[in-house]
Amino acid sequence: MQWVRRSCVALALATLSAPWSAPLHAEEIVVSAAASLTDAVREIAKAYESKTRHKVTLNFGSSAALARQVEEGAPADIFFSADLKTMGDLEKKGRLEPGSRRNLLSNRLVLVIPADSALEINAPKDLLRAEVKRIALAEPASVPVGVYSKSYLEREGLWEKLKEKIVPVLDVRATLASVESANVEAGFVYKTDAAISGKVKVAYEVPIEKGPKITYPIAVVKDSRKKAAARDFVNFVMTPASKDTFKKYGFVVLG
């Protein structure tokens, strides 16, 4: 358990280590990050901990739930969202440290089909074909990836025509699962999500210029009591090494 482990570490430090190995000013910061960022953020947090001896506590969930926690005053120091709107709402409510927000990452929308599917899709209008009976996407009203998928199809002038084929599901994972099981012929997910399933393949990658502007913003929470450490972590996330980590997991790094 965390407190057990921590007190063991503290005990070890106190009894065994020389004083220079103890952190001069060690702090624990809490980072609330969208679930889709889990692996990348974990890796970066580990690197940060070994470099600075600050302690990074990670809290994962949907962007909407995390924003809700921040809004109610849960003790998070950093909010790393998977979409601009939730971040924007928090900013409007004055829950973010002014000037701390960075639009850090982007992602690409891709169309996935079952790994063994013979379907050939070279353009979005191919979805109109009769072999494509159903298309899964995350709830287009609230879940960011669903919202993005819908606005992309609308811009392509296909939303109304495809409406009958659209199956709204819970989230990205549910989209992937329904494609994996071939219950639907195709589905829209993020490129980073497509990479985690071996049972789907990317049929069509939405070009960056045509696709929706998907943004992962990060910001320091206004109520944070460890703003200096929090800012320090945000800076660390912006370093080239961290950016390489994000790229490794399929994210597009902005600026």
Binding site: M1, Q2, A35, T38, N59, G61, I196
Partner: protein, 228 residues
């Protein structure tokens, strides 16, 4: 894949907080069940409904209410914070979410078993000079013990499986507030199915054992009570 240390840490943490939550609600659950089963008082049915509400409300909604109640922005949360007690984003939040969500199951079971205790026996005990406390602890509770144990087991298994309220109040912090259910959610979100299956197997094993034991007790409740 999780390391086996992490798997054991999560399992142990879930069991420990689940147990603590069950033990914490036990006295309140028994007291309230007794008031429901044996006493008439104003607004009783309203209180009964309120207690049972988490059973039918979406757990996320319960979680939101708890988050509002205990976060630093609320009067209660602020008061606690000033005294160095933080509920949100630590194990106490997990405990409270588990407690609130499993409380109705405990109360339902205990209430039924208490009302099945013949009130005549309590009356006779009173004529024999036993104080109300003595009656409760030497007559009522021993005769209702099966319902109490079965209710505790049910509450415990509900606590182990708690997700919606926990993730809002306590967050999903690996090594700190992550329970089996939250870890399964994370693994599924990240497509780490192997991990999810391992954790799922543990959860199912624990829940199965608890529910099975509770059911067995409930079924034998009409038989001769054991002498404590």
């Amino acid at each position: 894949m999780f390391s086996s240390f992490e798997t054991w840490q999560i399992t142990f943490f879930t069991l420990a907080v689940g147990l603590a939550s069950t033990l914490a609600i036990l006295p309140f659950g028994i007291a309230l069940s007794w008031l429901f089963a044996r006493k008439e008082w104003p607004f009783k049915s309203i209180v009964e409904t309120l207690v049972l509400l988490p059973l039918v409300m979406p757990p996320v909604a319960t979680g939101l209410i708890l988050l509002k109640l205990f976060s630093r922005r609320s009067p209660l949360g602020h008061w606690l914070y000033e005294r160095g007690v933080e509920i949100v984003f630590n194990w106490k939040g997990v405990l409270i979410a588990m407690a609130v969500m499993s409380f109705p199951l405990l109360v339902r079971s205990v209430r039924i078993s208490l009302s099945e205790v013949d009130a005549r026996l309590e009356q006779i005990a009173a004529t024999l000079g036993a104080s109300n406390a003595k009656i409760f602890f030497t007559v009522t509770l021993p005769l209702a013990w099966k319902g109490v144990v079965a209710g505790s087991l049910l509450a415990f298994s509900r606590a182990l499986g708690e997700f919606g309220a926990t993730i809002l109040v306590a967050g999903n912090i690996p090594g700190k507030t992550q329970t089996l259910s939250l870890a399964i959610f994370n693994s599924v979100q990240l497509g780490k199915d192997d991990e999810a299956y391992t954790l799922l197997l543990i959860t199912v094993g624990l829940a199965f054992a608890a529910v099975w034991a509770a059911e067995r007790l409930a079924r034998s409740s009409n038989e001769t009570p054991a002498t404590p």
